[in-house]
Amino acid sequence: MSTSPKIQKEVIENCKAGDEKAFAEIVLHRQKKVFNIAYRMLGNSEEAKDLAQEVFISVFESIKDLKEEIKFDAWLTQITLNHCRNRWKYLKRRQYFSSHSLDDPIETEDGSVPRAVYDPSDNPEILFEKKMIQQWIQRGLLELKEDRRELLVLRDLQGFSYEEMGESLGLPEGTIKSKLHRARMDLKEVLERSTH
């Protein structure tokens, strides 16, 4: 993960040997990334927390099977995305996201705020409030297809390089670029629709 400092090889080896301190170090270094990917993919803090903990339990159980320590971050991202996909399917089956719409009130830490029906650009004082926009974008992301949402989350929210994305998703760079562009255009359309 580009923004996080690289975990030292020794820490990974110690974790593989069953060192709990090494595992705790890995968790502390990567918990924010894993939690944020989960949160942007699922749009719910509680679900994201539970999922992130499951990801680290999977890491704890299966890190001994990791052959190349240098690919730990790509391996961790793959585990996170797999958990997200499974959880997304699970929640979708239970119609968890059915009532969610961009027109619904936006949930913020200070409570619900009625959604503005105007173009955000028209009322910057109200609509450009950081948390509101975050929530608004989050709703837009959840309306996208899962694979396109993944690309936006990894590249535009988490700042992954194309190389890292290629390792995590198993796709060539050109494919990732074209798909990413399609995902961005989709999000633009979704957000445009919500303002009209």
Binding site: A24, V27, L28, Q31, K32, F35, N36, Y39, R40, S45, K49, A52, Q53, F56, I57, F60, P120, S121, K130, I133, Q134, W136, I137, Q138, L152, D156, L157, K177, L180, H181, R184, M185, L187, K188, L191, E192
Partner: protein, 357 residues
Amino acid sequence: MDCEQARDRFSSLWEKEVSPFEEKIFKEHLSSCPKCQREFEQFEKTMRWLHSVGEVEVPEGFLPELYRKIKEKKRAIPGEKSRGRWFHFPLSFKLPVQAVAMMAIVFLVLYLTKMMPMEGDRLKETKQTSSPLSVQEKPEQVLTQKEGEGERRALETPTETPRPKDVEQAKAPVPKEGKLEEASVPQVKAEAKKREAPARSAEAIGYQAVDSNKAARVKTPSPEPGKIERELAVQEKSLVASKPPQEIVLRISDRKKVISRLHELVKQFGGEVVTTEGDSFLASLPTGSFSGFEKELAGLSSSGKTDLLMAKKHATGSLRLEQGAKREEGGEKSKGSEGLAADTESRTIVRILLVEE
């Protein structure tokens, strides 16, 4: 550059991955196309909003909760784990159970509907295979069957079928019961041996030419004394019918008188009239008294003589041989039938034809 090409480059332009020349062409298109310009502006806004989204903080107590979950997992015994899975994913386990139950039902139904008739077919097949025996196999089977029957009858007949000699022996005065037992047991054994001996010899010969009718006739056991007499009469008639009769043509004048006289003569010479068909009489006479009977019959004739049509000399020896052969063929001929054979050997069958002059 057209609109589509320009819109495909939005991401590249945003990430500044286009060459200055491409950027120049793109901007020229945007200046000439307000629609694409508006689209690009919207795209830029979206990207700015997207990149303005910051990271959220991890909820407090994330790591301790994670440790607690790991410890809970560690504590979970494998058996309990599987039971938990049972509970949480009941369908994933129930499905195979249902499939197994379905398979069991299907096999049961197949067994009840198809396997049972198949066993019936197998029985039929065994019957069929046993019935069309090959030429070599059949006599062997007949032999074994006959041996079985012969042995069974040899054991059964002394007690079940009282024959004339047995009756006589039973009637004879017996001094002591112990002696009777001692005497009767060897007798029975000897008789059984006697019957077994011809039976076996007949079986040995009989496969080449088995007269099933005769064998059956002779084999037929006679459980009651009354039945024995009836059977003897029937057998006598059949034996009489099987012999070639001597024919005597009697020229008569008074028919009624001759017929009554004929009956008297037959009785006189120890014979009997077997059948009467109009002017034809079939009589059985002792061979010894046949010549006397013939002479007396000549007396009845109006011309004083009889016409002997068939060869008078009855081949008693040949008849004896024939009877012997029959006995051998039958193999299980009873003593009663042996006595009858002895009687018929010394008898002559006479067919008397009355011709009125």
